[in-house]
């Protein structure tokens, strides 16, 4: 138990260094579960705590992280017409993805956890675990080339205004990860919408633009050169003529399903080798993560299922209407595009911001699917709807609960 002794020895004074003590406490309770015992009430406690619950969401996201990292590199080289096969140029794609993703994760975690520790120290309580999940979700819903300072500003906004202002973890009204994204979406729209932003490493996607690499790529160039494999320099290409970087959503908006399939095959759409936000393109890996959340009872299957039903119903109604090419996209192909699965599995099910009654969850999930599909198909400015739909329903989730509870109260008081 050498580590335990070391931890006990270096404990900083709580009064003198509150900030340091809070950080120490967070690290200590991460390494060792506390030795507190039950007092009054129950004498045994369930083995699960908030840390364990949150870490299972993080584990469920790992496949999305792996695939997302690689896909950053893959899309980069596809834009230049190099290594078109998925596994060709494996090392270059992986390293390029890591060079893009690691700074995003680091900035997210340092900024977010820093704010959490600061506020925890001010309030004099332990660091709550909420940001572990938010901090893992945020990188997955960003475009790969997001400027890091914009990312940091958005996290500051989301955590302070969205969470700490309401009292910290468990008290927030809106999903923190989506709040940071919606902040970027309205404050710096050019970095997160349009065709240009979903492929990394290019200033613009005009034909002939060369990829720009930085010092990190240079480091690996020397390594790869020494091993004798392809280097970034030898593979450097310009954007091929005719490549637009458009996501399936943008294509569907202008030309319906035919325009999408002209660019991408069904397999590509399903497995996710398409441009998009970092972690949301691969449907099978998201579904695997969702299954893990359902099996471990960490997230609500009611919300996921009702969101799917809501989206399907709205898509069918739009099929009936059929006024634009996007409305004519068969309802089942709507699920091949965009980030619906990621939003339904990981964003809508946030237990703090979702409805908390079981009846409420059905209504909440259904409306997310229903309204999100309307925004996706009908809003010309932004061809994807889940972020706005979930934030909208976050706002109303308490109202939904209110009516469910009112019904319960009315029933009980009427029995008298």
């Amino acid at each position: 138990m050498g580590l335990l002794d070391l931890f006990k020895k270096i404990e900083p004074d709580k009064k003198k260094y509150p900030l340091l003590h809070t950080a120490y406490d967070a690290a200590f309770t991460f390494a060792y579960s506390p030795d507190s015992v039950t007092e009054g009430g129950v004498h045994i406690r369930d083995g699960i705590d908030l840390k364990r619950m949150m870490i299972h969401v993080v584990l469920a996201l790992q496949l999305c992280f792996l695939f997302g990292t690689y896909n950053i590199g893959h899309q980069h080289f596809v834009a230049g017409g190099e290594f078109l096969g998925f596994l060709e140029g494996f090392h270059l794609k992986l390293i390029h993805g890591l060079i893009k993703l690691v700074p995003i994760v680091l900035v997210t975690m340092i900024v977010g956890l820093g704010i959490e520790i600061f506020f925890a120290a001010r309030k004099g309580h332990a660091v709550e675990e909420g940001f572990i999940v938010s901090g893992m979700l945020i990188p997955l819903i960003m475009p790969p080339d997001i400027p890091l300072w914009i990312l940091a500003v958005s996290i500051v906004f989301a955590v302070i205004v969205g969470k700490e202002a309401f009292g910290g973890t468990g008290m927030n009204i809106w999903n923190i990860a989506l709040l940071s994204r919606v902040f970027i979406f309205f404050a710096y729209p050019t970095t997160i919408s349009g065709d240009q932003v979903w492929v990394s490493g290019y200033d613009s996607l005009a034909a002939g633009t060369a990829a720009d690499y930085g010092w990190a790529h240079g480091l690996f160039n020397s390594l790869f050169g020494w091993i004798g494999v392809d280097t970034f320099d030898s593979a450097r290409t310009a954007v091929v003529d005719g490549y637009s970087g458009a996501t399936p959503m943008a294509l569907a908006y202008s030309g319906g399903w035919e325009a999408v399939t002209a660019e991408f095959s069904h397999n590509q759409l399903w497995w996710g080798t398409i441009p998009g936000s970092i972690g949301e393109t691969s449907k099978p890996f998201i579904i695997l993560g969702a299954i893990m959340l359902i099996v471990t009872k960490v997230a609500s299957w009611r919300i996921m299922l009702s969101a799917v039903i809501g989206a399907a119903v709205m898509a069918m109604l739009l099929n009936l209407w059929g006024a634009t090419p996007f409305m004519d996209v068969p309802w089942y192909y709507q699920f091949y595009m965009g980030s619906f699965f990621f939003a339904a599995a990981f964003m809508a099910t946030d237990p703090v911001t979702a409805s908390t009654t079981n009846t409420g969850k059905w209504i909440y999930g259904f409306l997310i699917g229903f309204i999100g599909m309307i925004i996706r198909v009908m809003n010309p400015a932004y061809p994807e709807g889940w972020m706005l739909a979930i934030l909208f329903l976050n706002t109303f989730s308490a109202l939904i609960d209110h009516y469910v509870l009112e019904a319960n109260m009315k029933k009980r008081l009427q029995r008298a």
Partner: protein
């Protein structure tokens, strides 16, 4: 194409409206002519029943009702009580005023230190309810009056005589006595504090007449004792007690059993309505059973008793004195021998436990691990204790305990592979396995409370002092034991039982 679908939908809707209206009209007519529409299934559309109440199994005999509860959770612990009698010679007993909810912390004593008392003789009364007396469980000498915080009386200790002398009473003839006279007799006999009332789960008020009286004859709590063993030799007393209770209410006396009791003598007692329950814990809690038999409405009062308490009340009429003998189950992973001990109410823990403990660093609990009271060897058992549980203390740091736990632990969560071992018996400790956090409603409370109640929102209403919401969300139907399982399962490690009692006290002060 579109118009066809619209027309078809319209026709279906119209048909549904016609059906629904005529169904309602039929039910109104049936009500007018006095038919019970719930029981007789009146209506055009056959009612679908998902709770299984309609399909009564064979063991629920005659008029007995059957309730199958789907929600709940059984915590399987090691150290079940074997059906053997363990010898324990108890000589010191105590009555603890703090056991009785709703009385002042410093009651008025009838006795002083050094005085001889008989078994069943009054010891003290509460100043606001002077009629109700609290009696000595054994005959002997009062040797100590222990005081706790703010001079509150914590224990009135009695050194028992070798040969017990009962305090005889002349019980009235049940067939002739009026309800008022019967209440007056019970109030003065020392047996009255055995009756609890809901709402609030406090001692019953003699001035009130309860709508119904409820008794749960089985306990689903972890390692709970078997009622048939607790009542061994007291069958006649139990029946006599039920007869007394039947006189106290114009409603019914409801006795709840589980399937395994259907062939026992207890299924054939008279003067009660029998109900069968199946399901996991808390199906054996009387509060849950009331909710399914006949819920507490605003303004209602119902009474509840344990089985040994019913037998004690009966003993006044069968023996002519208050029988305070009790069987206590000795259970838990840290006892070397488990079984049952025969003693009296309020026995000292050390005399019962003796040298039976297998290890040192243990938690002794008077009651079950979910809602029992933490005791030390010097403490005394509570008035209604029917089991002593031991588990290990959990005052240790576990390396990455939240991520890769070393010892198996009971849990509702799917994040542990417990579902692979459905019959594994756990030996948990008292570690909290995490720190207290803000409420995160991940649905685990709702999954273990088989009542139409939203525990998360009720707790928040209590913390917000919102009386109207507390009442509307059903606080009057609950007692601590009913939400103990929610507290066990709580991811945020919140003290739900404490919060609920705060709310109940607040509601009671409003009266």
């Amino acid at each position: 194409m579109l118009s066809t679908i619209l027309i078809a939908t319209g026709i279906i809707l119209l048909l549904a409206v016609i059906l629904s209206v005529s169904d309602n009209l039929l039910q109104i007519e049936a009500k007018k002519s006095g038919i019970d529409i719930e029981q007789d299934d009146i209506g055009i559309i056959p009612k679908l029943s998902f709770d299984g109440n309609k399909s009564k199994p064979n063991f629920a005999k005659n008029s007995a009702s059957y309730h199958k509860l789907k929600k709940g959770f059984d915590i399987k612990l090691a150290g079940e009580a074997n059906n053997v009698n363990l010898n324990a010679s108890s000589s010191t007993f105590a009555v603890r005023p703090m056991d009785f909810r709703g009385i002042a912390p410093i009651p008025k004593l009838f006795v002083e230190v050094g005085q001889e008392v008989k078994a069943g003789q009054p010891l003290f009364f509460n100043k606001t309810t002077p009629d109700i007396v609290y009696a000595a469980p054994v005959s002997g000498e009062v040797i100590e009056v222990r005081r706790g915080a703010k001079r509150a009386i914590s224990d009135i200790v009695i050194l028992a005589d070798k040969k017990q002398v009962p305090h005889s009473v002349s019980a009235p003839d049940l067939s002739k006595v009026s309800r008022e006279d019967l209440v007056t007799f019970l109030v003065g006999s020392g047996a009255w504090p055995m009756i609890n009332k809901r709402p609030f789960d406090v001692i019953a008020d003699p001035a009130e007449e309860p709508r119904d009286i409820f008794i749960s004859a089985f306990d689903t709590a972890p390692l709970a004792p078997d009622a048939s063993i607790l009542l061994e030799g007291k069958e006649k007393d139990f029946q006599a007690g039920l007869n007394v209770l039947a006189k106290l209410t114009s409603g019914g006396v409801h006795l709840s059993l589980n399937q395994s009791q259907s062939n026992s003598w207890i299924a054939d007692v008279n003067n009660v309505h029998t109900h069968y329950f199946s399901g996991k814990h808390p199906a054996g809690n009387v509060g849950v059973q009331i909710h399914h038999i006949s819920p507490i409405h605003t303004g209602d009062t119902v009474w509840t008793l344990g089985v040994q308490e019913v037998a004690s009340i009966g003993s006044l009429f069968t023996h002519g004195y208050l029988d305070c003998t009790r069987k206590i189950a000795i259970v838990g992973s840290e006892f070397s021998k488990t079984g049952y001990v025969s003693t009296h109410i309020g026995a000292q823990v050390s005399e019962i436990v003796g040298d039976n403990l297998a290890t040192d660093n243990v938690r002794l609990v008077a009651g079950d691990v979910l809602s029992g009271r933490k005791v030390t060897q010097e403490d005394f058992l509570s008035f209604t204790t029917d089991q002593i549980t031991t588990i290990k203390e959990g005052d240790y740091n576990e390396f990455l305990g939240w991520l890769v736990p070393i010892a198996p632990r009971p849990t509702l969560s799917g994040t542990f592979p417990n579902f692979l071992y459905p019959n594994f018996k756990f030996s948990p400790d008292t570690n909290t396995h995490g720190e207290k956090r803000a409420f995160v409603a991940s649905g685990q409370y709702e999954s273990v409370l088989p009542m139409d109640i939203y525990p998360t929102h009720l707790m928040k209403a209590i913390l917000a002092n919102d009386y109207e919401r507390m009442e509307g969300l059903g606080i009057n139907e609950l007692s601590e034991e009913d939400i103990a399982l929610c507290e066990f399962a709580c991811v945020s490690k919140q003290p739900l039982q404490k919060i609920l009692r705060q709310g109940l006290d607040m509601m009671r002060e409003q009266l």
